[in-house]
Amino acid sequence: MSSATLTETPQQAERAETIYEKSVPGRRAAQLPPSGVGETPIEELIPAGLLRETPAELPEVSEPEIIRHYNRLSRRNFDLDTGFYPLGSCTMKYNPRLNERVAALPGNARLHPAAEPEDAQGALELMYLLQESLGEICGLPHVSLQPSAGSQGELAGLLLTRAYHADRGRNPRKVLTPDTAHGTNPASVTMAGYEVVKVATNEDGGVDIDDLRSKVDEDVACLMLTNPNTLGVFDSNIVEIAGLVHDAGGLLYYDGANLNAIMGQARPGDMGFDIVHVNLHKSFSQPHGGGGPGAGPIAVSDRVEPFIPRPQVVRVADGEGGWKYDLDEDRPKSIGRMRGFQGNFGVFVRSYAYILSLGGDGLSEASRLAVLNANYLKQRLSEGRAGKYLPVGFDRHCMHEFVLSGAPMKKQLGIRTLDLAKRLLDFGFHPPTVYFPLLVDEALMVEPVETESKEVLDSFADAIEKILEEAERDPAIATEAPYTTPVRRLDEVAASRNPVIRQPKPE
């Protein structure tokens, strides 16, 4: 790199300081109202042995210092409103601001979760409408909104599987997952008390039917599948796969991480799936928040319905020709609760607003454009240097995402997928998902989503071309990248060898 580019940016020159390091004894932000009931010593209310003796070392800072601190921190984040974020399997689509506005309406935001159902009719109606909408999109008639995230939806689905089999006097022990599955799948399987059995992938990127056939028996509780899968491939054999599993008495579980490819085109229920989880923070535009919140509702078939978590939002006749909404706790076969109260209602508000904004026609169009964008970007990246150094894993039309292999790049240019990713940061792009799926060597998983324009996709392809061209001249440009980010490559080894995970206590 030229010395000019190695000049430290003002942001890099500023040492990271925590809010605790800005603390000055005697400063404060909060002014609390007086108790209004006198200042009885606390020891007269609660026995001294149950009281805290030393105050927690929280910062002593004024309000403007707090605002400035966190604003400064915010500028050390890359975000979706700033630039392209083609993170595979994460569906980084635009987060409409309308949704934030309606979620913040006091009738939603200040509603207590233990309010009487008759005091929460709007909230329960919204949840009911969202249940109905997700059921239609998934092609499965019953929806529980309760799970907090996709991972909790998975665990709920596996516990449903267990309850379903137990109700039939069966106790199968195995869950099949393809070797392309997200790591969450096997982790959830273990937590549900099942044993993971991996199924191989065929040369088209789908489930290897022969391998599946050899592993399906009456000890199989279910098959967990993502379709399209993490390679961006729709498994054309899905009906046959479903038949094999169903014939052996097993259920089919659909990981909805990639639902954004098929809304209004095909439905998991119609493919034979019994249980689906939907990531509202992916296909239904809930902002990711830097790692949550999300929500992972599940949609299920009739035969699984008796077991879904309680309480369930139901609609009942109000006796005056209309409807009212209630929370049904009386579900004797239910697996029970997965969490407190009714789930992440604030997320439901945003996702329902999104569904209303797009409508059935718009959701369908969104999936079609997601697939168009992915295929266009795949095409652009099959040209020039990208085509030479970053071949696509499976050469056919993709769905909403595709996977490239950086293996030739590593061999011929001496730069790894990680280096390419880090160099992309200097070009103002968030890199794609890297090193996943494990099946593809030096994988780069790209999901461009429908809310990005052709110009953005072109500029991303141009940046990749530029980086590869640089690397032909000097691989160190990539291997030492990034240069312009708030910090440069970080020592992750030190962070794991000697973990420092909190601010040390003051001297």
């Binding site: 009738g107 008390g193 790692g291 929370l327 407190g340 995970i501």
Partner: protein, 481 residues
């Protein structure tokens, strides 16, 4: 339909041309005909922004106006004042819209927030390690059970009936998958029955679950109860309300191995129950068994201080079926709200708010106990919530407005979760419920009791009355399968 997609007709033509197909339909050729929908989704067509706003505002207006009569509902989620700076900061797109910080060079803001959050939670709980957050409170109990079973190699879980009914039911749900045996220990005078707890702990007990303050609002002697568990090699797991930790002895100083809880009181609005965050703190030796994300401090190649996701080998994306948990969200935005609120309260304010709650609670409790027709459910010390017994009016009638005065009081009826306290209810205080509000509640209770005494009330008109789930109704719960 909303204008969230930029592709124009000519854009589409150009892109299809480049791909070498005639239509988008051709791109879906992998989807077999027999599973294609081939009809429009049976949903309305898309609406304009103003129409969607109206529709959503109308739904919100069907919920009881929160600015109307004061509510005293608590039971794990509380109507605290959320400082304006929380909204200002959490609505910044740089915090609102990124994914989990997989590229640390461009995620320093979020990672540092996690580090600051971990520090704050460690400080208030008095335990040395904290993760970056979990989904919410009750499911964090299940995470604690999973950890306890892994480190002890045992499968028994003993839960006080003082822990939140949702936590107990969530534990029961998860215990089926974990292969755990869950048993419950009852309450005596508002506190965990110490003798029954001691008797319930056996050689197979992995963990004992306590809550402080417990669901009835009582401040438990965690140090004493925990000793029974520690003596038998079981982990002491304590659910705590973070807003009380300015005054109550923190779990880390009471012998707790794990503390967890619902983070909503810290900077998060009620939102009808979520999203909020859960927190999870533990002793140092359990660091590598913790669930969820953990941020750690390090340096970049030029020696600058920076932060990364640390100890990732615990997690599902690496350890897969052997992971310490399947959880891959830390509720980062909600945890950010929590750490802003704690910074705003600061070292002094955090103590002051706890003291204010304790004083107002003591005042309200004294006032209500003096009303003819109501008495205290227990005499144990309380800090922000307390349990009352109605000797005059059915509790469901107070709630539903089916009593003689039609007040429809917002208090939490205990009978739904505790058949043994059918006549009990909880009253919760926050800094938003002042003396005037307390007096308003007392006046309403006085009217109800007076009317109830002269004219027997009935709860038959109560809406949404439900029988408690069968398995939580039993005073002792054992899970067979």
């Amino acid at each position: 339909m909303a204008g969230y997609t930029p592709a124009t007709g000519p854009d589409r033509e150009a892109m299809l041309d480049a791909i070498g197909v005639d239509s988008i339909d051709q791109l879906f050729e992998q989807v077999p005909e027999e599973v294609r929908l081939n009809r429009p989704l049976a949903l309305e067509d898309g609406l304009s922004e103003s129409e969607v706003y109206s529709r959503m505002a109308e739904l919100a207006s069907k919920n009881r106006n929160p600015e109307g009569d004061p509510g005293f509902l608590g039971a794990g989620m509380y109507d605290h004042y959320v400082p304006a700076i929380v909204d200002a900061i959490t609505s910044r797109s740089e915090f609102l819209t990124p994914y989990t910080p997989y590229q640390p060079e461009v995620s320093q803001g979020g990672l540092q927030v996690m580090f600051e959050f971990q520090t704050a939670m460690s400080e208030i709980t008095g335990l040395p390690v904290s993760n970056a957050g979990l989904y919410e409170g009750p499911s964090a109990a299940a995470s604690a059970a999973y950890l306890a079973m892994a480190v002890t190699g045992r499968n028994g879980l003993v839960a006080s009936r003082g822990i939140h009914p949702h936590s107990r039911e969530t534990l029961a749900t998860h215990a089926v998958g974990f292969g755990a045996e869950l048993s419950e220990v009852g309450l005596e005078d508002g506190l965990t029955d110490a003798a029954a707890l001691e008797a319930a702990i056996g050689e197979d007990t992995a963990a004992v679950f306590l809550q402080n303050p417990n669901f009835l609002g009582s401040v438990e002697d965690i140090a004493r109860l925990g000793e029974f568990a520690s003596a038998r090699g079981a982990l002491v797991v304590v659910a705590v309300d973070p807003m009380t930790l300015g005054v109550l002895r923190p779990p880390g100083e009471c012998g707790a191995d794990i503390a967890f809880g619902e983070g909503q009181p810290l900077g998060n609005r009620l939102d009808f129950g979520g999203p909020s965050f859960g927190f999870f703190c533990a002793r140092e030796e359990y660091l590598r068994k913790m669930p969820g994300r953990i941020a750690g401090q390090t340096e970049d190649v030029d020696g600058r201080r920076g932060f990364v996701l640390a100890l990732q080998t615990r997690e599902q994306h690496i350890r897969r079926e052997k992971a310490t948990s399947n959880i891959c969200t830390s509720q980062a935005l909600n945890a950010l709200a929590g750490v802003i609120h704690l910074s705003w309260l600061g070292k002094a304010g955090f103590v002051e708010i706890g003291e204010m709650l304790a004083r107002r609670t003591a005042f309200a409790r004294r006032r209500i106990a003096a009303i003819d027709g109501f008495e205290l459910l227990h005499d144990a010390p309380v800090v922000r919530e307390f349990a009352v017994r109605s000797t005059s009016v059915p509790v469901e009638a107070l709630r539903s407005g089916a009593d003689a005065t039609g007040s429809r009081l917002q208090v939490y009826p205990l009978g739904r979760d505790y058949p043994e306290f059918e006549d009990g209810f909880l009253v919760a205080l926050t800094e938003q419920r002042d003396v005037k509000d307390i007096e308003w509640l007392c006046a309403a209770l006085e009217r109800s009791a007076a009317a109830g005494a002269s004219e027997p009330a009935t709860s038959s008109g109560a809406a949404g009355t439900q029988t408690p789930p069968a398995d939580t109704a039993a005073p002792k719960l054992r899970l067979a399968s």
